[in-house]
Amino acid sequence: MASTNHRPLLIRLLFSVIVMFGFGFALVPLYDVFCEITGINGKTRNEVAGIERAVPDKQRTITVQFLARPDKGMPWVFEPEVTRLEVHPGQISLVHYQAQNPTGSAMVAQAVPSVSPGTAALYFNKMECFCFNQQRLDGGAALAMPLQFYVDPALPADIELITLAYTLYDVTQRDPIQPVTQTE
């Protein structure tokens, strides 16, 4: 009894504790990958979509709604030029969002998109988006920010309405103000 050596079991248990602590942090990238693959959570891909699937399907019409919201405490004016658009799947559309910095100093903002219903996010292809980059505006300046997109023709048949919501965050404090980022 007294001669039983506890050390091997103790080491294995301590190792499990460390592994599980690491697993907690591993959940962060796992979650991102999982959401990107399945498209749940309404996260759209943060990269330029190719044009190869942009074959218009004139048989179907999808309604796309555009929402915009500055984060709490974010002073910018931020709104879409059109709030509602009827599109055919595969048809490339270009819309603009208006942004204006009413303060006296330069600020940097980052827009984060969210698509509802979440499963539509996989089929919402953005060829150009102001959300791909941070946006810098001098005090008092305004900007029409472009969004070029098409809805993938493979969109499940039960989805007729897609809502695209942007939240605009103030990231001036987060990153030092860099030279104007290109939005091409």
């Binding site: 009894m1 697993f23 907690g24």
Partner: protein, 529 residues
């Protein structure tokens, strides 16, 4: 009988008597001392957390804002939850594990006695830090015990740092306690104590300890992320920097759901010890109890998102988590069935531990049923964040976990102290608790179904009558627990001498030791037939 004397012999030549005074408790590595300290600590925390519940119920006695301002009300709900979960229920179970596991498996002590000392003595510091944060400028944590981001990151004050450190310390304490339990059970069972001969309290604690090792580090991870998001510019849960606040809920509930089973599995072990004693029949379905406990533990890792049905998950995920959650009702039902079958045609007597155990079975089952209602995704959209949820988890945690701890205290108190408790006072304690706890929590179902939100210091006028009734039940339940304090105090002081077996139907190694057991027991392992 021979076991008891052999313990005494070893005592004489091997160990000196414990040092007197405070140093005995500070330096002790004895599982009985540490178990006692854990239990007393949990009792103290139960009253501190209970006092906070009394503040909550006093404020909610009438609609409108009377006694405390909303920010303080939020601190009370937050710290009440944290103290009851991490300060009362978990240390009480660890205390019971310390006292009972070595005696039940015929071991002289816990496997890692010095670590045992540490895992207790860091706890008072953790809770001092948490309680002191209430006196900071701006008050203590007010974001709910679930500390959802961004409430705990963007919208919290600097007491969050103290909150995070205290949770870290509580987590380290639980992990050390769990490691100790596992090593003790694996390495120190008496010869002949095979796996499927272990008492169910030992089994359920072994499974609980594995759950603790699996999820407490995840809790440590998520509080660390909250800390770095708040103070070091990371964006785990901040959408502006590419993070996601919903991710917080996923990580938290990946810890949080196994955590609720950590708080109930040892209770199953306690009830499975008490019911056979007073029914004077062996436990019905021992093996199925072990398998049911294991499957509950495994399923607990697959159901976390049922706390998050309203976060906008896709339908297939909601269905997956709904069905997995309902599946847990099967092993839980097996357990309830086994307890009832154990009592069936038994020669039952109704001593206080048995009364609490029967109350546990009935009331925990009510809590289980409201849990099933909450598991139904479309219904949960109605019930989410209402008092129905409060009613549900108080039925499983107060009339579940806490009642089982009280039952355990009454059951083993004569063994620990050597004296019988005062039967009359104990009966008063039982009946006052039973009635008041139902006056307290049952009407919460109704106000919850009618739409009263939780964690709000004010409410619509139509809920006034029920809330007054709930508050009266709350005060009565709080006061009833003072009777328990009195019973324990008197029992420690003296009373009718308890025999070694204490209860006529009690079986197990701990009942072969004298009451109270010698300071060092089973220094020579007993023979297990």
């Amino acid at each position: 009988m021979s076991i008891v004397t052999s313990g005494h012999h070893a005592d004489e030549h091997h160990h000196s008597a414990p040092p007197a005074g405070f140093k005995r408790w500070l330096y002790t590595t004895n599982h009985k001392d540490i178990g006692t300290m854990y239990l007393l600590f949990a009792l103290a925390m139960f009253f501190i957390g209970g006092a906070m519940a009394m503040v909550i119920r006093a404020e909610l006695f009438q609609p409108g804002l009377q006694l405390v301002d909303p920010n303080f009300f939020n601190q009370m709900t937050t710290v009440h939850g944290l103290i009851m979960v991490f300060g009362a229920v978990m240390p009480a179970f660890t205390g019971l594990a310390n006292w009972l596991i070595p005696m039940m498996i015929g071991a002289p002590d816990m496997a890692l006695p010095r670590m045992n000392n540490w895992s207790f003595w860091i706890l008072p510091f953790a809770f001092s830090i948490l309680l002191m944060s209430l006196f900071m400028e701006g008050g203590g944590p007010a974001f709910g015990w679930t500390f959802y981001a961004p409430l705990s990151t963007t919208y919290s004050n600097d007491s969050t740092a103290l909150f995070v450190f205290s949770v870290h310390i509580m987590g380290i304490s639980s992990i050390m306690g769990a490691i100790n339990v596992i090593v003790t059970i694996f390495n120190m069972r008496a010869p002949g104590m095979k796996w499927m001969k272990m008492p169910l309290f030992v089994w359920t604690w072994l499974i609980t300890a594995f759950l603790l090792i699996a999820v407490m580090p995840v809790l440590a991870g998520v509080v660390t992320m909250v800390l770095t998001d708040k103070y070091f510019g990371t964006s785990f849960f901040d959408a502006a920097g590419g993070g996601d606040p919903v991710l917080f809920q996923h990580i938290f509930w990946f810890f949080g759901h196994p955590e609720v089973y950590i708080m109930i599995l040892p209770a199953f072990g306690i009830i499975s010890s008490i019911v056979p004693t007073f029914a004077r029949k062996p436990l019905f379905g021992y093996a199925s109890m072990v398998y049911a406990t294991s499957s509950i533990a495994l399923l607990s890792f697959l159901v976390w998102a049922h706390h998050m049905f309203t976060t906008g998950m896709p339908v297939f995920a909601e269905l997956f988590f709904m069905y997995c959650t309902m599946l847990i009702a099967v092993p839980t039902g097996v357990k309830v069935f086994n307890w009832v079958a154990t009592m069936w045609r038994g020669a039952m007597t109704f001593e206080i531990p048995m009364m609490f155990a029967i109350a546990f079975i009935v009331l925990f089952t009510i809590g289980g049923f409201s849990g099933l209602m909450l598991a139904i995704t479309p219904a949960d959209f109605q019930y989410h964040d209402t008092y129905f949820v409060v009613a549900h988890f108080h039925y499983v945690l107060v009339t579940g976990a806490v009642f089982s701890i009280i039952a355990a205290a009454y059951y083993w108190l004569p063994k620990w102290t050597g004296y019988m408790y005062n039967e009359t006072l104990a009966r008063w304690h039982f009946w006052c608790s039973l009635i008041s706890v139902n006056v307290l929590f049952f009407p919460m179902h109704f106000v919850g179904l009618a739409g009263m939100p939780r964690r709000i210091p004010d409410y619509a006028l139509q809920f006034a009558d029920f809330n007054a009734l709930i508050s009266i039940g709350g005060f009565a339940f709080g006061l009833s627990q003072l009777l328990f304090l009195l019973v324990v105090y008197k029992c420690v002081q003296g009373g009718e001498k308890a025999s070694a077996q204490v209860w006529e139907g009690a079986e197990g190694l701990e009942w072969q030791l004298s009451s109270p057991p010698p300071y060092h027991s089973f220094t020579t392992p007993p023979e297990v037939k």
